[in-house]
C-alpha cells in the first residue's frame, strides 16, 4: 500500500517511513509477510481491486485508531471513538438531510460535534479527575444513546445531498491517474495520518502529549497547564473521530445510528499492534497505520481464502499475537 500512496504524497510517506525505521515499528515486517503469504496462497488476493478494498476497509478504522493514538500516547484511553464516530455521522445526517443545509456545513458540523464531545471527555478527565477509562466509557454510552435519540433509531440517508458519497467513494487520484483509482476515503486517511504525525512530532501539543503520557507531574511542575493540554488532546481526537464519521456515513451513503459499538476495541488494537504503549509516553502514527492495515489485510485475506468464519476469528487472534511477538523479539534484539 505504502508504494501506491507514494505517488500522491511521496515526501509525507518517505518521512513516515524514516520515522518507522527510527521508531523501530517493526510490525511493518509482519505486514509485508502477511501480504506475501496471502498473495502466494490465493491468486485473487493481490489484485488492484482487492488492494483498494483493503485500503477502503482500513480507512475508517485507521482514522479512529489515529484518534485513539493521540489519547493513548498522552497516557489516557478513549473508548468512545466508535460511538462518537456514529454520533457525528448522525449529526451530519441531521444537518444535511433533515435540515437540508449545504454539504460543507454538514462536514464541519460533524467535526465540531466530535471535537465538542472530545472536549467533554477531556474535561471529565482533566478537571473532574475521572479515570479516562470511565470518562470515555460513560461518553461512549451517552453517545450510543444520543445517536438513537437524534436519528429516531432510523438510518438517515444522504440521497438528497449529491456528492456526499463521493467524499469517501469517489477518487480524485483516479481522475488524474486512471490506473490508480484510490478512493478519497483512503486519501483522507493518509492526509489525517500525515497531519497527526506532524502535530505529534513537530508541535508543542505533540511534545506535551508525550510529556504528559511519560510523566504528567513533571510536566505540570515545569509550569505547564497540563489540564488544558489534556483537554485539547481529547478534543483533537474527537474532531478526528468526526472525520471518521463523515467517512463511514459517506461510504454507506447513510448514517447508521446503531453502528460503532466494539469499534473502539479494534481501533485500540490497531494502536497497540502498531507499537504504541498503553502506558503512554511512546507511540507513532505510522505504527498505528500499519497496525490498522495488518488487521484489514488479515480479515480480507482470510475471507478471500474463504476460510470458515469461526476459524477466521481463531486465526486472527493467533496472528495478532504472533505479529506483536515478532515485533517484541526484534525490539529485544535491537536493545
Amino acid at each position: 500500500m505504502i508504494t501506491e500512496s507514494q505517488t500522491n504524497a511521496p515526501n509525507l510517506i518517505s518521512k513516515l517511513i524514516q520515522m518507522t525505521a527510527h521508531q523501530r515499528v517493526l510490525a511493518f515486517a509482519s505486514l509485508v509477510v502477511l501480504l506475501a503469504v496471502f498473495s502466494v496462497v490465493s491468486p485473487n488476493f493481490m489484485q488492484m481491486s482487492n488492494m483498494l478494498a483493503i485500503l477502503q476497509a482500513t480507512s475508517v478504522n485507521g482514522v479512529l485508531a489515529i484518534a485513539a493514538t493521540l489519547v493513548i500516547i498522552s497516557g489516557g484511553i478513549d473508548l468512545s471513538v466508535g460511538t462518537l464516530m456514529t454520533f457525528t455521522a448522525v449529526v451530519s445526517g441531521v444537518l444535511l438531510t433533515n435540515m437540508n443545509l449545504p454539504l460543507p456545513i454538514g462536514v464541519l458540523g460533524a467535526i465540531l460535534a466530535g471535537a465538542f464531545c472530545g472536549f467533554c471527555s477531556g474535561s471529565f478527565v482533566a478537571k473532574m479527575k475521572i479515570p479516562p477509562f470511565i470518562a470515555t466509557l460513560g461518553m461512549m454510552l451517552i453517545l450510543k444513546g444520543l445517536s438513537l435519540v437524534v436519528s429516531d433509531a432510523r438510518p438517515i440517508y444522504f440521497n438528497d445531498t449529491p456528492g456526499y458519497d463521493e467524499i469517501s467513494r469517489g477518487s480524485l487520484i483516479g481522475e488524474i491517474l486512471p490506473f490508480l483509482p484510490i478512493p478519497n476515503g483512503v486519501l483522507i486517511l493518509f492526509v489525517v495520518a500525515g497531519v497527526a504525525s506532524y502535530v505529534l512530532s513537530k508541535t508543542v501539543l505533540g511534545r506535551y502529549c508525550f510529556g504528559i503520557g511519560s510523566n504528567e507531574e513533571a510536566v505540570r511542575l515545569s509550569g505547564v497547564n497540563t489540564d488544558r493540554w489534556k483537554i485539547a488532546i481529547y478534543a483533537l481526537a474527537g474532531g478526528i473521530c468526526g472525520i471518521a464519521g463523515i467517512l463511514i456515513s459517506s461510504r454507506l451513503n447513510s448514517a447508521q445510528p446503531a453502528l460503532g459499538l466494539g469499534y473502539e476495541l479494534e481501533a485500540i488494537a490497531a494502536v497497540v499492534i502498531g507499537g504504541t504503549s498503553l502506558a503512554g509516553g511512546r507511540g507513532t502514527i505510522i505504527g498505528t497505520l500499519i497496525g490498522a492495515l495488518i488487521m484489514a489485510v488479515l480479515t480480507n485475506g482470510l475471507r478471500v481464502l474463504s476460510v470458515a468464519q469461526e476459524w477466521q476469528t481463531v486465526i486472527t487472534g493467533v496472528i495478532i499475537i504472533l505479529a506483536v511477538y515478532a515485533d517484541m523479539m526484534r525490539r529485544q534484539k535491537s536493545k
Binding site: 511534545r207 508525550f210 513533571a218 505540570r220
Partner: protein, 496 residues
C-alpha cells in the same frame, strides 16, 4: 587475606555507549571499599553487573574465589550479594514492612502471610538502625529520605556477606548519615564486605579503607584511603585539578525584596513561615529531614494548595494556585525528587531541557524549531558536562548524576528571576558541583534571587548569603552566611 569479590576486565556496552572498558575491582572480607568516579563513569553499571541485574559483555567475576555467572538478581542474592540501588526501587502501594520483605514473607504452608510477624521483624530491623518509621504505612507517603532509609533496611535484612551501597547518602542529612556509618562499622566488624559509592568526598575519609577510581568506564587505580589526600583522589576522578574558590558575600543591604512570604500555613508541615528574598541573594534552607523545607518550596511554587498566607513578588501580592501561575510570576522550582517530579524519563535530553520553555521554541502556530532546541541543549550539555551520547538520548538511560544535571539545565534555560533549588547537587560529582556553585553565584550576580534547600550543611554554608533554618514545619531562625556562622549554631536551630 581472602578476596570476597574479584572482578577482572569487565566489559559492558549499551547502544551508543561503551560503559565499561575492562574494569578491575576487588573486595576483601570486612573492608569498606569506596568506588569513586564522575557522573557516568560506570560505577552503577559495574555494581549492577556484580548484583546480576545486567549481564556483562566480557571479563570475569569471582565471589569467594568461585567463578560467578549470575543469570539474575536472585542468583546474586543467593551468592550473598546485597545491593542498595542508586535509584529507589520501591512498590509505592505496599507498606514499609511489605516492601522490606517482598519475596521473603513469613508464610504458612498454604502461602498465607503472617502479617503480624512481618511487621515485627521489620520493626526489629528499624530498631537496630534506630530509625523511626511505622512499618504499616504506605511507603509512597514517605519522603525520599525516609524511603532511602527503608531501602537500606531492606538490604541489611538480607544479611548478605557483600553489601553494595550505591549513593545511599545522596538523600540523607548528617544525622542519618551518622546513623548509617554506625551500621556500616558494625557490619565491618561482622566481616561483611561493603562497596560504597558516594559523591560526598568527606565521607570517604571517614569510613573507607581503600578507594577504587574509575573514569569514563576505565579503571584508573586502587589506593589506600588514609594515605591518599582527597585532592589526589579527585584529580584521579576528574583528570584535572578541581578548585572551588569562594567569593565573598556581596552587600545586598539596599537591594529590593523580590520575594516575600508572609505567614504561610499548610497542615502540620508548614506553620506560619515568613521570610523575604532579595534581588541577587542566595538564601540557604537548612533543616533535618521532615523539617518541611520541601513543603515550603512546593507551596510557594503552587504545587500544593496552602491553608493560608501570602506570597509577594516584586512588591505585589500574587495568587499562585498552580505551578503555571508561579512560573508566570517568574518563580522556578527544581524538585528534590528528579525521578517523580523532575524528568519525563521516556523522553530525550533535548525535550527534557526544553520542557519548561517549549513555547519559546514554537512558532505562532505551535510548530517547534528543533535545530534551535538542539543548539540550546548542546550549550548546557557543554556547560554542565552532561555525559550523554547525544541530545536525543532517552534521559532514562543517563546515569543518576547526569539526569540531575538535565533538570538543572531545564531551570537554567527557563531563566526565572526567582529560582528555588531543592537538593540541587543530589548525586552530582565533585567536579560538576564546583561548576554548579559557580553557576549559582554568577546567576546571583546577574541579579537573580535564589533559594537553595540542601541537607548538606557544608553546601548551604558554602553558598548562602543568609541561612534560614527550619524545624518541624516552623522557620526557627535566619543566620548570616559565610564565615559568620558555624554548624553548631545552625544545628541548634534545626533541632529545637
Amino acid at each position: 587475606m581472602s578476596l570476597l569479590v574479584e572482578m577482572r576486565g569487565i566489559e559492558k556496552r549499551f547502544p551508543g555507549v561503551y560503559a565499561l572498558k575492562g574494569v578491575e575491582f576487588e573486595l576483601r572480607k570486612g573492608e569498606v571499599h569506596a568506588l569513586m568516579g564522575e557522573n557516568g563513569a560506570g560505577k552503577s553499571t559495574l555494581m549492577k553487573i556484580l548484583s546480576g541485574v545486567y549481564k556483562r559483555d566480557g571479563g570475569s567475576v569471582k565471589v569467594d574465589d568461585k567463578l560467578a555467572l549470575f543469570d539474575g538478581p536472585k542468583a546474586a542474592q543467593n551468592a550473598g550479594i546485597g545491593i542498595i540501588h542508586q535509584e529507589l526501587s520501591l512498590m509505592n502501594d505496599l507498606t514499609v514492612a511489605q516492601n522490606v520483605f517482598i519475596g521473603r514473607e513469613p508464610r504458612s504452608a498454604w502461602g498465607v502471610i503472617d502479617e503480624k510477624r512481618l511487621n515485627e521483624q521489620a520493626s526489629d530491623i528499624f530498631e537496630k538502625m534506630n530509625f523511626k518509621v511505622d512499618p504499616t504505612v504506605e511507603i509512597g507517603s514517605l519522603t525520599v529520605a525516609k524511603q532511602q532509609m527503608v531501602e537500606i533496611a531492606k538490604a541489611l535484612s538480607f544479611q548478605s556477606k557483600v553489601l553494595i551501597m550505591d549513593e545511599p547518602t545522596a538523600a540523607l542529612n548528617d544525622i542519618e548519615i551518622a546513623e548509617l556509618f554506625v551500621i556500616i562499622r558494625r557490619l565491618k566488624s561482622e566481616g561483611v564486605g561493603i562497596i560504597y559509592i558516594s559523591h560526598k568526598m568527606d565521607e570517604i575519609k571517614k569510613i573507607a579503607e581503600r578507594v577504587t577510581v574509575m573514569r569514563d568506564g576505565e579503571y584508573i587505580d586502587t589506593v589506600e584511603a588514609k594515605d591518599t589526600p582527597l585532592s589526589k583522589i579527585i584529580a584521579m576522578m576528574v583528570g584535572r585539578e578541581v578548585k572551588d574558590e569562594t567569593i565573598d558575600i556581596p552587600d545586598l543591604s539596599n537591594a529590593p525584596n523580590v520575594l516575600e512570604v508572609k505567614n504561610l500555613n499548610r497542615g502540620k508541615e508548614i506553620q506560619d513561615v515568613s521570610f523575604s528574598l532579595k534581588k541577587g541573594e542566595i538564601l540557604g534552607f537548612a533543616g533535618l529531614m521532615g523539617a518541611g523545607r520541601t513543603e515550603v518550596a512546593r507551596a510557594i511554587f503552587g504545587a500544593d494548595p496552602i491553608d493560608s498566607g501570602e506570597i509577594w513578588v516584586n512588591g505585589k501580592a500574587c495568587r499562585i494556585s498552580s505551578p503555571k501561575d508561579a512560573v508566570t510570576a517568574g518563580i522556578g522550582y527544581l524538585s528534590e525528587d528528579r525521578k517523580h517530579f523532575g524528568l519525563a524519563l521516556g523522553m530525550d535530553v533535548r525535550e527534557n531541557i526544553a520542557m519548561a520553555t517549549l513555547s519559546k521554541f514554537a512558532s505562532s502556530c505551535g510548530v517547534l524549531n528543533e535545530p534551535e532546541m538542539s543548539n540550546v541543549a548542546h550549550k548546557y550539555i557543554e556547560q554542565l558536562g552532561i555525559k550523554t551520547p547525544s541530545d536525543t538520548q532517552e534521559v532514562g538511560f543517563l546515569s543518576g548524576g547526569n539526569q540531575q544535571k538535565v533538570v538543572i539545565a531545564k531551570w537554567l534555560l527557563k531563566d526565572c528571576d526567582i529560582l528555588i533549588f531543592d537538593e540541587p547537587t543530589r548525586g552530582i560529582d565533585v567536579g560538576a558541583k564546583a561548576e554548579i556553585y559557580k553557576l549559582l553565584e554568577s546567576l546571583a550576580l546577574q541579579g537573580k534571587a535564589i533559594i537553595v534547600i540542601s541537607s548538606e550543611l557544608p553546601e548551604v554554608m558554602r553558598l548562602s548569603h543568609r541561612i534560614a533554618i527550619m524545624c518541624q514545619g516552623k522557620l526557627t531562625g535566619i543566620l548570616p552566611g559565610g564565615k559568620a556562622t558555624n554548624q553548631e549554631q545552625i544545628m541548634a536551630y534545626a533541632a529545637q
